[in-house]
């Protein structure tokens, strides 16, 4: 028996290979040359991520998008999602290098795990096969469980890691069980084949398929922190090192939402009429729970955690629109994720940069009077808060506008209305921080904390990059939005 070698487009696979190879290389380098400077490994990791970004931008998706029978899919959507994931990893490496409490950790292990997590996210987003979705999800989940508890001396970190691990494995179980049921009902794990079989025959009505679809929604809903599966988020975000929290709030969400979009694009219009109500309720619950809970928080990381839940709710609005066959919704999702990545990373970067050597500034009260002690930092934070709240002329406003108008175009009335009302609620807690920074006298802050540490250049780079992006997408959004829309052209 001869086994044919599968057809592989190496140029398309190159971004993933670079990241995986980089992870192994970083680990090996740290094992053989442990005495080298930490900044060398950080630079190397940044270079790996930048070259992977370059490779994915250079590889023009053509007609032969699917390699290995759809296991690896490189289309415009993949390309844009790769850019998002690599961007968020790039930022989190910058933040990790800037964070004072991460100075003592073994850099090779830490950076290696970040790169492994990145590769998992990329593989999860770039596939048509449910099997690869699961394998990619497990790769980044396992790496993130460890990263969450990387500061072992801190009990909060251990709690976060354990909680994330237990609930995460439970959710993975749901996802896998659901995939198995879908396979049983349709005889395939390939989304395109599943979609074809749904049109030709009625397995869409079989209980096995519907149950499987429901379980998959639960599993993915956990990973994107959608209500009612978001309970873990605040504790895990609070206990993890801030740079890891920043990574968790963007990277896994991009990957899991990308898989969610692919699933709904394939099976949604044919089989998921029941999903309409589920997505509607999930979106409303998620954004309301996130925004209302965020108001009462006194810890800035918890507040940002609830804010990220609320933003997942806004994206679920786009998912509901995709279910109804909106082309615009996928493009506005990509654009929203781009802006969200920048503003969220920027906000976490301010939290990192404001921290002193011994302690981090995690209480919201700690930010009182920051506008007088650290004017530049406070100005950056104000910009990110205004953008997260969705006020012009920032990227957050434009992104929300595109997202909600996509929902309006497919006939949703109440969903966008509730989303806009939620944005109004969210202004209260975002602007509370701005008011606190500028209208209150500074408390007994440390004399010259934070930024003068060895990692200040990394924090500065991240801040400038994020702020420039948020402003640019707010004032000149059209070219990037066009790009996001064009990325979704060859989908289906």
């Amino acid at each position: 028996m001869t086994i044919p070698f599968p057809q592989i487009h190496w140029a398309y696979l190159l971004p993933v290979l670079l990241v995986v190879g980089g992870a192994v290389f970083v680990l090996m380098w740290d094992a053989f040359f442990p005495q080298r400077e930490r900044s060398f490994l950080v630079t190397l990791t940044l270079a790996v991520l930048a070259s992977a970004l370059g490779a994915s931008l250079a590889a023009q998706p053509g007609s032969e998008a699917a390699s290995m029978g759809g296991m690896y899919l490189y289309d415009g959507f993949t390309r844009f999602v790769f850019a998002l994931i690599l961007l968020s990893s790039f930022f989190s490496v910058l933040l990790s290098a800037a964070q004072r409490s991460l100075e003592e950790v073994p850099a090779g292990d830490y950076l290696g795990l970040i790169l492994f997590a990145t590769s998992g996210m990329m593989l999860m987003a770039a596939t048509r096969s449910l099997l690869m979705v699961f394998v990619g999800l497990e790769i980044f989940s396992l790496a993130l469980y460890v990263l969450a508890g990387f500061l072992r001396g801190q009990p909060e970190g251990n709690e976060a890691a354990l909680k994330y691990f237990l609930l995460g494995s439970f959710a993975s179980g749901f996802l896998l069980y659901g995939m198995a049921l879908i396979f049983g009902a349709t005889g395939s794990v390939d989304l395109m084949e599943i979609a074809q079989r749904l049109t030709t025959s009625p397995p869409s009505r079989s209980p096995a398929f519907l149950l499987g679809l429901g379980f998959v929604v639960v599993g993915l809903g956990f990973k994107v922190a959608a209500a009612p599966f978001y309970m873990w988020t605040p504790d895990v975000y609070e206990g993890s090192p801030t740079a890891v929290t920043a990574f968790m709030s963007v990277g896994p969400k991009v990957a899991a939402f990308a898989a969610f979009f692919r699933l709904l694009l394939a099976v949604g219009p044919r089989a998921g009429a029941e999903l309409d109500a589920i997505l509607w309720v999930m979106a409303v619950l998620t954004m309301t729970a996130g925004n209302v809970s965020a108001i009462w928080q006194s810890n800035i990381k918890r507040m940002l955690a609830y804010s990220s839940i609320a933003h997942a709710g806004y994206i679920l609005v786009a998912l509901a629109a995709v279910r109804r066959g909106s082309d615009l919704a996928t493009g506005s999702f990509l654009f929203y994720m781009l802006v969200y990545a920048l503003m969220n990373m920027g906000a976490f970067c301010v939290v990192v940069a404001a921290g002193a050597r011994g302690e981090e500034r995690t209480r919201i009260e700690d930010y009182a009077g920051l506008g007088y002690t650290r004017p530049a930092l406070a100005a950056a934070m104000a910009l990110f808060m205004v953008s997260l709240a969705g006020i012009p002329p920032t990227g957050g406003f434009v992104a929300k506008f595109y997202l909600f108008s996509a929902a309006v175009k497919v006939g949703f009335v109440w969903l966008p209305v509730i989303a806009v009302l939620n944005s109004v609620v969210s202004v209260s807690y975002y602007l509370r921080l701005v008011v606190l920074m500028y209208m209150r006298e500074p408390g007994e802050a440390p004399a010259r904390p934070g930024l003068l540490g060895p990692g200040w250049s990394y924090a500065l780079a991240a801040l400038v990059l994020a702020a420039a992006g948020v402003l640019n997408f707010g004032i000149f959004p059209s070219s990037f939005f066009e790009l996001a829309l064009r990325s979704t052209l060859l989908l289906n």
Binding site: M1, I3, P4, P6, V20, V24, L27, S67, M68, G69, M71, Y72, P106, D109, G112, L113, F116, A117, S119, G120, L123, S129, L131, M132, V135, G136, E138, I139, L142, A143, Y145, V146, G149, F150, R152, G153, L181, F183, G184, A185, T186, G187, S188, R197, S201, P202, P203, R205, S206, P207, A208, L211
Partner: protein, 169 residues
């Protein structure tokens, strides 16, 4: 004959599982779980899934059981025997079991797995379960098979990171 063996194995699974959840001693429960796994492997053989039967014994009865026994040994077994077993959750557990039973009945009784009947399981024409599995693993599912090694590598490194730092501090 086949039916007789099916009932034998099925009764074995049910009996071993019932005994397992009612034992006070966790070691006894763990060993009864091995018994249940072995009967289940027998069921897989009857269904023509030899590979699954072998994996069931190797991974579950072998690997995972050893893991269970290790974690039981790390706890204090003597204390666990004297603790209350049910935490007043027996009603809840019964309700969950009934719900699961209804679910299985709904899926298998009504419609079953239509895709499996209509399109086959995606396996090749090769006779024999193990050969067919090997063939699709190295052709159709080559990419996930290889990517799974990244998963194992990441998991291994994560475990080492957690354990290593425990020792140095």
């Amino acid at each position: 004959m086949e039916l007789a063996f099916f009932y034998l194995f099925a009764a074995g699974i049910v009996g071993a599982s019932l005994l397992m959840v009612t034992r006070a001693n966790v070691i006894h429960a763990a060993l009864l779980l091995v018994l249940a796994f072995l009967f289940m492997a027998g069921l897989f053989v009857l269904a023509g899934a030899e590979f699954l039967a072998g994996v069931q014994i190797l991974i579950y009865a072998g690997g995972i059981m050893v893991l269970y026994l290790f974690s039981i040994m790390l706890m204090n077994v003597g204390v666990a025997v004297r603790l209350r077993q049910w935490h007043r959750q027996s009603v809840l557990a019964l309700a969950a079991a009934v719900l699961l039973g209804a679910e299985v009945w709904a899926v298998l009784g009504r419609g079953g797995y239509p895709g499996a009947k209509a399109w086959g399981w995606g396996l090749g024409q090769t006779p024999g379960n193990v050969e067919a599995l090997g063939e699709v693993l190295y052709t159709k599912f080559l990419f996930p098979f290889e990517v799974a090694s990244i998963l194992l590598l990441a998991a291994m490194i994560g475990a080492i990171v957690l354990a290593k730092r425990e020792i140095t501090r």
